[in-house]
Each structure stands twice: as C-alpha cells, then as structure tokens.
C-alpha cells in the first residue's frame, strides 16, 4: 500500500475541522426521518462560536476539577486522534501498543468528565457520572475484544496497521468476522458517545440522561470545550468503524481519503437512522446487551482463527 503522509495529515486536519459537522449530519438525518427541516448542518459550529464568546459561571461547590476537566478531556481526545490511520495511511506517531494508549486516553477523558461532574455536588450530575462509569466499564471489555480481533487479523499491535492492513479477502469467515467486529465497534461507539438506544442526547430530562446530565453545570467556553470534545470523540469512533471496513489495498491514497471522509459522514447518517427508528433501552437491560457484544466480538475472533487456519 503506497504511503503518502500528506493524506494522513489532511485526514487529521479534516477531523479537527469537520468533527462538529458530524452531529449536524446526525440531526439532519433525524429531521429527514420525521419530516422536518431540522437544524442547519452547520448548527454545531454556530453553537461553538457563540459559547466561546460567553461568560462562565463557576459553581460555588466546586473545588477545582470543574475548571480543569474540559481541558483535560479535550487534550486526551486530541492525542487519541493521532493514532488513527486516516485514509489508511499509517500514522507517523504509531508505535507498538498504541491501541492501548488510544483506549486509555478515551478513559482519561471520561475520568476527567466524571470527576468534573462530581465536583458540582449535584444529584443529576452524580447520576450521569454513575451511569457513565458503569457503562464505560462494561464496554471496555468488548472494545478490547475488538482490538484483540484486529490484532490477530492484522498480526500487528499498532492501531495504524490493525486498521489499514489488507485482509485475506478470499476467506469468507474472515469477511464475516470483520463485519461482526465492526458491528460491535459500532455499538461501542454508540455507548461511548451516549447515543440512542443507550442514551438520548435530545430529551432534556435530567433523570434519564448520561452525558448531558454530567455537563449541566458547564457554561461558556468550558461548555464549548466539552461539546467540541464530544464531537471529536464521535468523529474518532466513527472513523474507527469506517477504517475497519475499508480495506487498505482498495485504491490509491486520494481515493481512500475521499472514501474515508464519505464513510464517516455516512456513519453519521447511519447513527441518525438508528436514532430515528429505535427507542432507548431500559438501563437495567444495558449490561446484558454489552455482555452480548463482548461475546460477539469473541466469536468474531474465533471465526478469524478458524478461517485463517489458526495462525501462521
């Protein structure tokens, strides 16, 4: 596969610039599904523009974390962005084991958000934080099983190679396994980004929200940081799923760049469609669901092992 670092950098900059577009795409899709015009595609940009110009209100209960949590979350996500192989170009920052750093950086962002939420001493934020750590802990297993599958399929421990290596396309079980694993990654993405059916970013009901409940007390630029981080995370995880499905030897770098970009936007449309057609689950049922996801990821791995005749 020809390497062209230009396209990786282009991919990174696109991610930074276009991330807020993705929630716009999702909302537009949802609007289409119900037959309304809906907010502009650029609405998230308008919101960010406004928020960075507003003042902040500090909670008098806070003893610090509320102020630094948004910055910490954003830094964690910015760093995590460096490990994806945009347009199937190997990341210049890649190293053996970066997949784990990637996963744990997402964890760091979450930790920051949860500590920030608990800093307010509000029961809603406590509720959101409690749910966030619960589902994150249970998703972690499924995510690592997916990474295990990718590592085995690509024979590499570096996220760039895992996601961009050409697959043995002649083995049907491996193809099936890739699709299965991408499905699990998609579910992980929905959970991590607090989307329906796991969380509902739309209903403004404190008692049922997860992510939204945790950010009730942020205002102005801090809220802007958080919303931008959320958009970045959504882009990041969607790109991960897209790259899993995009074979690296398919085309030349410019074509792959376009494909990966279109793929992410298509991902937004798919998320919008899922949100439009399903109701949100009971919280009590989610753990079983996530456990099922973990098992499915392990099945994907087993399929690959069988498909490739058990290693080299």
């Amino acid at each position: 596969m020809p390497q062209n670092p230009f396209f990786w950098w282009a991919g990174l900059i696109t991610a930074l610039l276009l991330a807020p577009l993705l929630p716009g795409v999702i909302n537009k899709t949802k609007a289409c599904f119900v037959g309304r015009q809906g907010p502009s595609l650029l609405q998230p940009y308008y919101n960010l523009h406004k928020l960075f110009r507003k003042d902040c209100i500090r909670s008098s209960t806070s003893c610090g974390p509320l102020a630094w949590a948004p910055g910490l979350e954003l830094s964690a996500l910015l760093l995590a962005l460096l490990f994806l192989p945009y347009a199937n170009q190997l990341s210049p920052f890649a190293f053996t084991g970066d997949a784990f750093l990637f996963a744990y950086l997402l964890g760091l962002g979450r930790f920051a958000l949860v500590i920030g939420a608990m800093d307010t001493g509000s029961s809603f934020e406590g509720m959101g934080a409690s749910r966030e750590v619960q589902f994150a802990a249970l998703t972690e297993g499924a995510f690592f099983a997916v990474i295990g599958f990718l590592a085995f399929a690509s024979r590499s421990l570096n996220l760039s190679e895992m996601l961009s290596c050409p697959l043995p396309a002649n083995v049907p079980t491996v193809i099936a396994a890739v699709i299965l694993a991408a499905g699990i990654a998609f579910i992980v993405m929905l959970v991590e980004n607090s989307r329906v059916p796991f969380d509902d970013p739309e209903t403004h009901l404190e008692l049922t929200m997860i992510h939204e409940a945790m950010i009730l007390d942020y205002s102005g630029p801090d809220l802007g940081f958080i919303l931008y981080s959320a958009a970045l995370k959504l882009w990041l995880m969607t790109a991960l799923v897209v790259l899993m499905l995009l074979p690296g030897d398919l085309a030349s770098a410019p074509v792959l760049f376009i494909l990966h970009l279109l793929g992410v936007l298509l991902g937004g449309i798919v998320i919008g469609a899922v949100e439009a057609v399903s109701a949100r689950f009971r919280f009590l049922k989610l753990p079983q669901f996530l456990l099922g996801a973990l098992c499915t990821a392990l099945i994907a791995l087993a399929l690959t092992v069988i498909g490739t005749g058990g290693g080299r």
Binding site: F52, D55, C56, I57, R58, S59, S60, T61, C63, G64, P65, A67, W68, G71, L72, L74, L78, F95, T96, G97, L101, Y104, G107, L108, F111, V114, I115, M118, D119, T120, G121, S122, S123, G126, A129, S130, V133, Q134, A136, A137, T139, E140, F143, F144, A145, G148, A151, F152, R155, L157, L216, D217, G220, P221, D222, F225, P287, L294, G310, G311
Partner: protein
C-alpha cells in the same frame, strides 16, 4: 561509584543497627514521648536512606551481588533483593515522616511502642529480602509477622482492630506453617513431594501476597492499622509474597506456574476490584484495590511464565517485566493513597466514605494528590501504572499473535479481564475521590476540620514525585534494571536464553513521550481558557438546583449510590445485604436502608469451613471425658496406628503428622470471625 563488598557489608550492618538501635532506644524512652518519637523517626529515616544507598546500586547492578554472613546467618543482596528492598525503604522513609504527623496527639507510652514495632517491622522486611537460605527467610518472615501484628493492633482499644489483628496473626502463622512445610517437602528427595511443596509454597507466599480466597485477612488488617503502617503493608509487604515466590519457590515447570498465576491473577484482579467498588470504608476500598493490583501483577507474571514455556521471548519479557514494574508502580501509588487516607482520617475522624464529601476545600493539596494518584492507579495515562499495564497488555497480545490456540484464548481473556478491571478501577476510584473530596460536606462535622499537616504532606508529595519520576525513568528501568532482576530468580534465570529488554522499551519511551505531551497540552489548553476568560466577569453561583429554595447536602450522590448499579450487577459476587426498614403504607413514617457487602472468600469458603470445624469440634468434645486412662488409651491407639502406617509405607514417620498443622492453622483463622 562501585561499592566494595566490605562497604556493602558495613552499610548493611549499619542499616540493621540503626533500625534496631532506634527501636530499642525509643522503647526504653517510651516514658518521654517526644524523645521516643524523634529517636524512632530519625533512626527509621536514616536507616532507610542508608538502605537506599545499598539497595539501589544492587538493584541497578552497579555492584555485583553480595553474600555475607552476619549474626551467624547467611545474607545476600543481589538485584532481586535490591529491587524488592527499594519499596520497603522508600515507603519506610515516607511512612516514618508521615507518622510524625499522624501520631500527633498520641501521648503517653504509645509513641515509644509504636516506633519500636515500626522500626523492627522495617528491619524484618529488609531481612526477608536479604535472606539467603530457608532458615533466614523463616526467621525474618516470622519476625515480620509478629512485629507488624503489633502495629496492626496499635489501636487495640477498638474491638474491630483487635479482631483484625487476630485474623492477621493467624494468617501470618498459617503462612509460616505452609512455608515450613514447603521447605521440609522440598528438601525431601522423593519427587512425589515436589508438587505438594510447590503448592505449599504458593499457599504460604500467596497468603502474604493476597491470592484470591487467601486474601481475607488483608481487608481486615490494612484498614485497622494506622495509615502509615497500612501504606507499608499494602505497598511493600504484599510484594514480599511475590518476592518469596520468585526466589524460594521450588523448581516447577514455567507452563504450570504460568497457568496458575494467570488464573489466580485474573480472578484476584476482578474479585479485588469488584469488592473495592462496594466498600464504604476508604482504607478497605484501598485494601481491596491492592488485591486487584497484586492480581494484575500475577497476571503479568503468569503471562510471562507462559511465554517462557512457549519460548516466546517477547511475551515472556513483557509479562515478567510488566508484572514487576506494576509492583513498583503500585507500591508508590498505593503508598501515597494510604497516607492520604490517613490525612483524611486525621481531618474528619472517620473513614466512612458516605459520611464525607467536600473535603477538597479543606485539604486542597491532598485532594489534588488523591485524584492524581487515583487516576494513575486506575491505569490512566499519564500515570505510571499505565506503563506497566500496557506491558502486560503487550504480553497478552503477543500471546494472541502466537498462533497457539490455547494461549490465544487465555491471553484474550486475560486482556479483556484486565480491561474490565481497569474500567471498574476507574469507577471505584472516581467514587473514592468524588465522595470524599468533591461536592458538599454530607454530615455537619462536629469539629472544624484540621488544616493540612505539613509533616504528612511532605511524604505524600515525595511519593507522588517518585511516581512521576518513574514515568520518566521507566524506559531506563526497563532496560537496565528489570532484566538483571529477573535473571536472579531461579524460576527464570535458569532459562536457556537471555532476557532481552529490547521488547517493549520502544513502547515505553513512546508512552512516556505521550504522557508529557498530555501534560503539555493540558497546560496549553488551560492557558487558552485562562486568556479567554481573563477579560470577562466571572460569576460564582450555586450548583444548578432546579431553582429550589433550600438545597441540602443530602441532594448529592453518595459513594454507595455512585456504584450502586455496578454493585447490583455483581451482586452474586458481592453478597450485598440490604437491611431495610421498608417504606410501607401510603404515609410511611420511618424507613431505612443499610447496605453491607460481604467478602465471598469469607462467605463461601471460610465461614462454612469454620462452621464445619466447629461442628466437628463439638462432636469430638465427647472424647474429652477427663479420665486419664482414656487419654492414655487413645495415645496408645494412635501410636499403634502410626506404627502400622510407617511399616506399611516404609516412609519416615516424621512426615506423617505434619499435615495436621495447616488444618489447625486454618481452624484458628476460621474460628476468629465468629468471635463476638
């Protein structure tokens, strides 16, 4: 800076002398608390500093391994011993400093007593590391157990503490019994006993290191002891169990050992953290987290031994190295956290998480240190524990790539388990940091919280800086220290090929660089935010309370509530017990909910066992008729039975009665929790 053998010996003797002398002198001056305190603390600190000068070069292999006889016994200080001595010494130094603050207000003879046992415990731990043969090990081991027992029982006025101390003493002795057995059996030329010897060794050392099910003493003893002592026990003394395994376990195939440690590690890691989640006592939570982290270390070692058995160098190095590195990282972080828990206790007078809240405003530095260390211990970058966890992940994924289906399955389960325990650890530590330091104070305190004590802050900062330093120096540690340390273990060093530090060092440096990138980015973003807000008027308002007129501190999540969904999910493991006065009728007047979590080790193994033995004992009481001639008859019957057995199996009769001992040990241990 090579130290000659002689200077090594002198230094070793000096350390022992300083600790011993300090101990004895503060004991004799216990009627003058001030003098006893400073004598004990200074000698402990000096001893630890001197010890570091001895242990660090040994661990780094700047000096060759030293053997010497002292007090008529044989001692050795090599890389392995040095590596395990370092946490003892550094933690000893920090804990001694912290104790000065922690024990303020303890007058009378307590200071002298405390420092006597404190110094001797340190001494015994150093001796355990330096023991060259079984005899020295057993002596030092027993000394360590008894001395630390006295420290655990320091607040003996409280019933809970007395109970914890007795359980601890029984566990120590049961462990010692297993070790004696191991040495007896290992010395036996009959190959049939080798397996039993290994089993006894694992049981004996595992009791100290907190193997699952054998861990039950740990969450009792650690919270009962004074905070600096808990720090030493949790951070340094647990390690010695692993040290014992690496150094003294009879030869065993690496494959078998690998599978055992993998299984124990995985179950320990998950069990430990699930139990930690449900705890309401801060130190108990930390103690269970120690079980989890020991589990992670075992997991790494297990993967490493599996790698050894598979001749998979990358897996072996990453696993073994990662396991050892994790012990080191855990020691620094958990040490700090226990010391901080001590500071919290001093400030509030309680350890019950659900009673606290809002301490961050009274103890700002402690709050920041606690959150940082808690995040690091959850394995989050840029903390140091992430470096060791990523090595263990690498080992597991080397196993995934190895092509062997069985190893693959085990490795993927290990990786998923590790990920799950990481997520749960983050939940547990969010709970601990948030419910203690953040939000508003839940209970109106009956006294003003004490301001932060500098004497306690110093050691906490010192250990935190060491943790940060170990991020910086991790690649160096990996390349220059760990291979040498591992070579010293008879279980590993005997391998046919050298351990190369090449595997993983690139990853470690990359992670280190990214860790600093995170810190730099946070600083940049913080600066940007500051600039953005500089020109604006910052309002302060109460947390959004839905416009309610009279919000109270009860309207925030408690620690138990925070983890309630997860604890409910693991309720089968936790055995959570809700005692409720139910909400009844349309207009209930009173209702209450109290939740307690019981340890499955206690609940499923030790309690049934102790009930069983108590029943047996009850039945056998009939034999105790009190008539002398009946006893003589029984002795006669026993002798004849033994004679028949000895003749029939043509074995040395001495071995036969031995197995009765562990049963007795267990019996005592089990009976203990039933005491009122």
């Amino acid at each position: 800076m090579l130290l000659s053998a002689l200077s090594c010996f002198i230094l070793f003797a000096a350390v022992l002398f300083l600790l011993f002398f300090g101990a004895v002198w503060s004991w004799f001056s216990r009627r003058r608390p001030e003098r006893a305190k400073w004598l004990g603390a200074l000698s402990a600190m000096l001893g630890c500093c001197a010890g570091t000068v001895l242990a660090l070069p040994a661990a780094a292999q700047w000096v060759p391994a030293q053997h010497f006889a002292f007090l008529g016994l044989h001692w050795q200080i090599d890389a392995l011993a040095g590596f395990f001595m370092l946490p003892v010494l550094l933690l000893g130094l920090a804990a001694a400093g912290h104790s000065l603050g922690y024990l303020q207000g303890h007058g009378g003879q307590r200071q002298g007593t405390y420092w006597f046992f404190f110094n001797l415990t340190l001494l015994a731990m150093l001796l355990v590391c330096a023991a060259a043969t079984y005899i020295e090990l057993l002596l030092a081991w027993e000394l360590m157990g008894v001395m630390s027992f006295a420290l655990v029982a320091f607040s003996f006025q409280e019933q809970e503490t007395r109970h914890a101390a007795w359980v601890y003493l029984l566990a120590c002795h049961a462990g010692a019994v297993f070790l004696i057995l191991m040495f007896v059996l290992a010395g036996n030329p009959n190959p049939g006993y080798a397996g039993t010897a290994v089993a006894c060794g694992l049981l004996g050392f595992g009791l100290k290191a907190g193997f699952p099910i054998l861990h039950v003493w740990l969450p009792e003893a650690h919270p009962a002891a004074p905070a600096p002592v808990s720090a030493i026990m949790s951070a340094a003394m647990l390690n010695l169990g692993i040290y014992g395994i690496l150094r003294f376990l009879p030869p065993v195939s690496p494959g078998l050992l690998g599978w055992l440690l993998l299984g124990l590690g995985l179950s320990g890691a998950l069990l430990g953290i699930v139990l930690a989640l449900a705890q309401v006592n801060l130190k108990r939570l930390l103690a269970y987290s120690s079980i989890e982290n020991m589990g992670i270390a075992f997991l790494g070692l297990g993967l490493g031994f599996l790698g050894l058995s598979q001749q998979n160098a990358a897996m072996a190095v990453c696993g073994l190295g990662g396991g050892l590195l994790h012990l080191w990282n855990h020691a620094l972080l958990k040490g700090t956290l226990f010391l901080l828990a001590g500071a919290v206790f001093k400030s509030t007078g309680t350890l019950i998480i659900d009673k606290m809240g809002g301490l961050g405003k009274d103890l700002p530095v402690s709050k920041n240190l606690f959150i940082a260390n808690a995040a690091a211990l959850s394995g989050l970058p840029p903390g140091n524990a992430f470096l060791s966890e990523i090595m263990i992940y690498l080992a597991a994924f080397q196993g995934v790539l190895s092509g062997n289906h069985v190893i693959l399955a085990a490795a993927i389960i290990a990786a998923v388990g590790l990920a799950l325990s990481g997520g749960l650890a983050a939940a547990a530590f969010c709970k601990a940091s948030a419910a203690v330091f953040l939000g508003a104070a839940r209970n109106p305190r009956n006294h003003e919280p004490h301001p932060e004590c500098r004497l306690m802050l110093g050691p906490e900062l010192f250990l935190s800086l060491l943790a940060l330093a170990s991020v910086i120096f991790a690649p160096w540690l990996w390349e220059n220290i760990l291979p040498g340390v591992l070579q010293q273990s008879p279980l590993i060093g005997g391998g046919s090929w050298p351990l190369s530090a090449e595997h993983g060092s690139q990853t470690l440096s990359a992670v280190r660089n990214f860790s600093f990138a995170i810190i730099a980015l946070i600083a940049v973003l913080g600066f940007l935010r500051h600039r953005q807000l500089r020109r604006k008027v910052l309002d302060t308002g109460c947390t959004w309370d839905c416009g309610y007129a009279l919000p109270t501190a009860r309207m925030q999540y408690t620690g138990t509530a925070f983890t309630q969904p997860l604890s409910d999910y693991f309720r089968l493991t936790l055995g959570r017990h809700r005692s409720t006065v139910p909400v009844q009728g349309y207009f209930p007047q009173e209702a209450a909910v109290h939740i307690t979590a019981s340890d499955p080790g206690d609940r499923l193994v030790w309690h049934p066992l102790s009930r069983f033995t108590a029943r047996i004992a009850d039945k056998t009481r009939r034999i105790q008729s009190g008539y002398l001639h009946l006893y003589i008859l029984m002795i006669l019957i026993a002798l004849i039975a033994m004679l028949i057995y000895a003749v029939a199996s043509s074995l040395p009769p001495a071995a036969a009665p031995e197995p009765a001992l562990p049963a007795a040990g267990q019996l005592h241990q089990n009976a203990a929790p039933l005491q009122p």
